[in-house]
Symmetry: C3
Subunit: 212 residues, 3 copies
Amino acid sequence: MPPATDAGAALVVLDLLGIFVFAISGALVAVRKHFDVFGVLVLAGTTGLGGGFLRDVLIDATPPAALADWRYLLVPIAAGLVTFAFHPTVGRLERVVNLSDAFGLSLFCVTGALKAVEYGLGPVPAALMGMVTGIGGGMVRDLLAGRPPEVFSGNLYATPALVGAGIAVGLDHLGMPFGVVAASGFGVCLALRLLAIALDLRAPKPRGPANV
Amino acid sequence: MPPATDAGAALVVLDLLGIFVFAISGALVAVRKHFDVFGVLVLAGTTGLGGGFLRDVLIDATPPAALADWRYLLVPIAAGLVTFAFHPTVGRLERVVNLSDAFGLSLFCVTGALKAVEYGLGPVPAALMGMVTGIGGGMVRDLLAGRPPEVFSGNLYATPALVGAGIAVGLDHLGMPFGVVAASGFGVCLALRLLAIALDLRAPKPRGPANV
Amino acid sequence: MPPATDAGAALVVLDLLGIFVFAISGALVAVRKHFDVFGVLVLAGTTGLGGGFLRDVLIDATPPAALADWRYLLVPIAAGLVTFAFHPTVGRLERVVNLSDAFGLSLFCVTGALKAVEYGLGPVPAALMGMVTGIGGGMVRDLLAGRPPEVFSGNLYATPALVGAGIAVGLDHLGMPFGVVAASGFGVCLALRLLAIALDLRAPKPRGPANV
């Protein structure tokens, strides 16, 4: 990962921004499920941090970064409280939330994949861990809210994350500088995800009736 | 954690008691869902031990204590079998179960938080881990039983655990002796939780209709 | 675990076969839930690998083997794609899938239990980890698919895994050679599970109406 320089500081700020937008999507789901304020905060926290927790537990980077740095806990709490108080406004901004979510996804798939590489995983599992970092928080959110994971419902969401993570891992493997690696993975994931939203691209579903 | 003295032995007994009452609440949910005897035992086990497992995985204290000491496995099995055999009686005692549950919650939030401190977490994440230890088992129970986590449904449950854990971490941080730390955190959590049950205190819910 | 010999190679092949049949059962559930191709792949992967992941996280054998060896990722992907493309045919073969599943269960309960022993767990928790390895993937599958865990629904499934794992751990504890240990645990679990399917053996359910 980057050294403790301007690039490093910028990455932390981006990371916190990504957590913030994910946390808002979790808090909105909790409001719609009529959970209490605590449920809103927990769904904000698990959506914002869950993907990173899953990754850190699997690659043995525990305790997860978010438990070692209080800023990572403050951000989802702030997102949860804002959504709790102003949910009609936040709900109307859902299109903005969706676009921000694409930003968070693109960021997390790259940082997650590179962290897995740093912890010694091979290219294929590292790319998979990048995808898990991007989509894991939303999956935990849907589990806790008692609804089927949205990521399986058709609109292309996991694929951009996997492609972005794969590109980052591949370029890193080729020895490219960090800036190129990160920008390429991030850019490709973001472009694919925005395209998927704009054109309503859908992953193929099984054809024909399921044999039950 | 305390040394292997009388205090240590007392803490183990309290811990096992806490696991027992949590396990009974899990087994009752399984009975009402018409799960088989195995489902009753698994829900007893995950409810009794799940919070501690979550904490231990997150703070890297694996394998969890419950896997290293067979007494920790025996207790939820006993609770599950008792509930399976005598569920009409146990079900009628639900008020007693609820009060015992408050005792387990108060105990686990304190022991969980202090264990996290011992493993090097800062005060804020340690208090959070205390809350997770207290409420995690019930959340896993509700996930496995396919119902929304009860902890989000309104009655004050997580807040007492977070406050109790925070008090324990804070006093420990100030260098207070273990007895004072533990008794204060435990007592405050228990008092808040019993008040919440007695007065039906409820966490605030989002106001106004959710914008879907 | 066995050395890198013919026995070791045979064990890897068996392990991959077990993952394959588990992954197919996960993919079939996803098809019936109308998940998209990505959901089919994720359910194939979590069903095939989830039990081992749970075990490895709990016994601190992270990163899980499946993340260190790309063959373990390829197998569930292949199973998922095959099921996605040919699900009417695969669905009709469900009886074959169920029998193969018994094979996977018998294999995983033994390898899981012996791995836990290798990582220092005592006999009782090691047998429990063997059972978790066998049934965990299916439980994660049912959670993600939003249905109650099938393993709680009555037909004897977890019990054969626990008995097989217990036998393997017990014989290993007595110093028996690996072949005897593995064959006995595997054989007993398989025989019990096949009997349970053939005779529709059911675990007891709570008697009388649940007191709600």
